[in-house]
Amino acid sequence: MDAVFAAFPTYLSGFAVTLQLTAWSAAIAMALGLVVAALRVSPLRPFRFFAAAYVEVLRNMPLTLIFFFAVFVLPQFGVIPPLGFWTAVLCLSTYTSAFVAEAVRSGINSVGVGQAEAARAIGLTFGQTLGEVVLPQAVRTVVPPLINVFIALAKNTSVAAGFAVVELTAAGRRLSQGNPSDTILLLVGVVVFYLLITIPMGVIAGAVERKVAFSR
């Protein structure tokens, strides 16, 4: 037990790195995902096709493979990504952006066609239709799955442990390799820190879902 208390500073610094990875990747993935989602619902076929391919490829590729590309393959071509933290942010946000795009797209498509038709029938412009009618309804459907995407992102940051970033999982591995007698307790401590992120986010997602639930 003492080993766990002694390890507290290590936990905290790992926890901080995990939180920073999650926050940066979430912000970048959100921006990138919105662009891809916009391309995916655009009236122009090539853009739709490009965005669909982007989403489909990234969603079916293991995150580890993307890390592998950034860490071992890119340097072969003189592109040396900044090591560690920012490489991890790059990989995590690229990977997550596909899931964000998919969540946003299905949210937009979940709005009834009649809503937009009615908006156009009373003479609203495209911007008004989008801003006043479609998006407010889409946001309600999008938020809970989006939170789930970010919960998955928080857990996925652990993959960075395999690529020279000392976040929570890597910290746990180091600690337990240093104190072989307390391995179980030390790793349980890491579990607790992950649950500190994922369970509150899950509760928020559930609450939002109940709050905005409405029938169409």
Binding site: L44, P46, M61, F68, Q115, E117, K155, T169, Y194, T198
Partner: protein
């Protein structure tokens, strides 16, 4: 394209869209070409970066492909093939446990599900490796099983909740016991209803088996790395490309299978319609399925 955002285009809009499509294609193609030229300038397409796939320096091409597809992909599939049925079986067991009527009995199941859902798979693999002293193969399988069984249990819970109440009521009215109702009436329907989600989850499981790379299991990605150390790092891109194509082929076929299943299921009563019908008394499972646009 009929979409919530646009009216069906008229002749002018169609002409404008055609021009837009042409310009858009040109933009996309130019961007790809610029990328390709930049890559070529860096020597990405030089033969000495690719000949490992057809004429490797120290061995025969058959050796390379055997190590990639038999050893590498084989190990990936072996871990997934062992973990998937275990996760499904334990997931069903958890879902059954979670649906018991006694609150005190249900709470541990909820705890197990929430615990394993909230923890990264990689951490569970490290736990198996370092704390339980399992081999790296067992650790990979352990991590995949405990995580996915929790997700499968959640999927099945949603499926059970989406069934119309009348199903259970009719079963009880016939005099079936609770276990009989659950196992012969409710679970089979829930499994069928959620089949697309279950298959999609198996794609996730297969993808996550690549975490074996980090815990030292010799799966596809690790074999790729070993090969690129053995033959030289200049082959990293070629080998990586093979890995990507293999993963995409396997996962996309599974994903398309899931989508095909979803379409097939929705023809007989789509999950959303069933879920909605479940909330209204007096309507059966696909009662209004045909009426709703999917």
């Amino acid at each position: 394209m009929t979409s919530v955002l646009y009216d069906a285009p008229g002749p002018v809009a169609r002409r404008r869209e055609r021009w837009g499509s042409v310009i858009g294609s040109v933009v996309v193609l130019v961007l790809l070409a610029v990328g390709a030229v930049a890559a070529a300038r860096n020597g990405v397409f030089d033969a000495d970066r690719w000949d490992v796939l057809y004429d490797p320096p120290k061995q025969t091409a058959a050796d390379v492909w055997r190590s990639l597809l038999v050893t590498g992909l084989g190990a990936t599939l072996r871990a997934a093939a062992l973990a998937a049925p275990l996760a499904l079986a334990l997931g069903v067991a958890l879902a059954v446990w979670r649906s018991t009527r006694l609150r005190a009995l249900r709470i541990p199941a909820v705890g197990v599900i929430e615990l394993f859902r909230g923890v990264p798979v990689l951490l569970m693999m490290f736990f198996a490796l370092l704390a339980l002293k399992l081999s790296s193969f067992e650790a990979v399988v352990f991590g995949l099983v405990v995580y996915n069984m929790a997700i499968v249990a959640e999927i099945l819970r949603a499926g059970l909740a989406a069934l119309p109440k009348g199903q259970a009521e009719a079963a009880y009215a016939l005099g079936l016991s609770r276990p009989q109702t659950l196992f012969t009436i409710l679970l089979p329907q829930a499994v069928r209803l959620m089949m697309p989600s279950l298959v999609a989850q198996m794609v996730v499981l297969l993808k996550d088996s690549s975490l074996g790379f980090i815990v030292g299991y010799q799966e596809l990605l690790k074999v790729i790395q070993n090969n690129s150390y053995f033959y030289g790092n200049n082959y990293a891109f070629a080998l990586f490309t093979v890995g990507t194509v293999v993963y995409l082929t396997v996962n996309l076929s599974l994903s398309w299978f899931a989508r095909w299943l979803a379409r097939r299921t929705s023809a007989q009563g789509n999950p959303e319609a069933v879920a909605e019908a479940a909330q209204r008394p007096g309507t059966g499972p696909g009662a209004d399925a045909g009426a709703r646009p999917v």
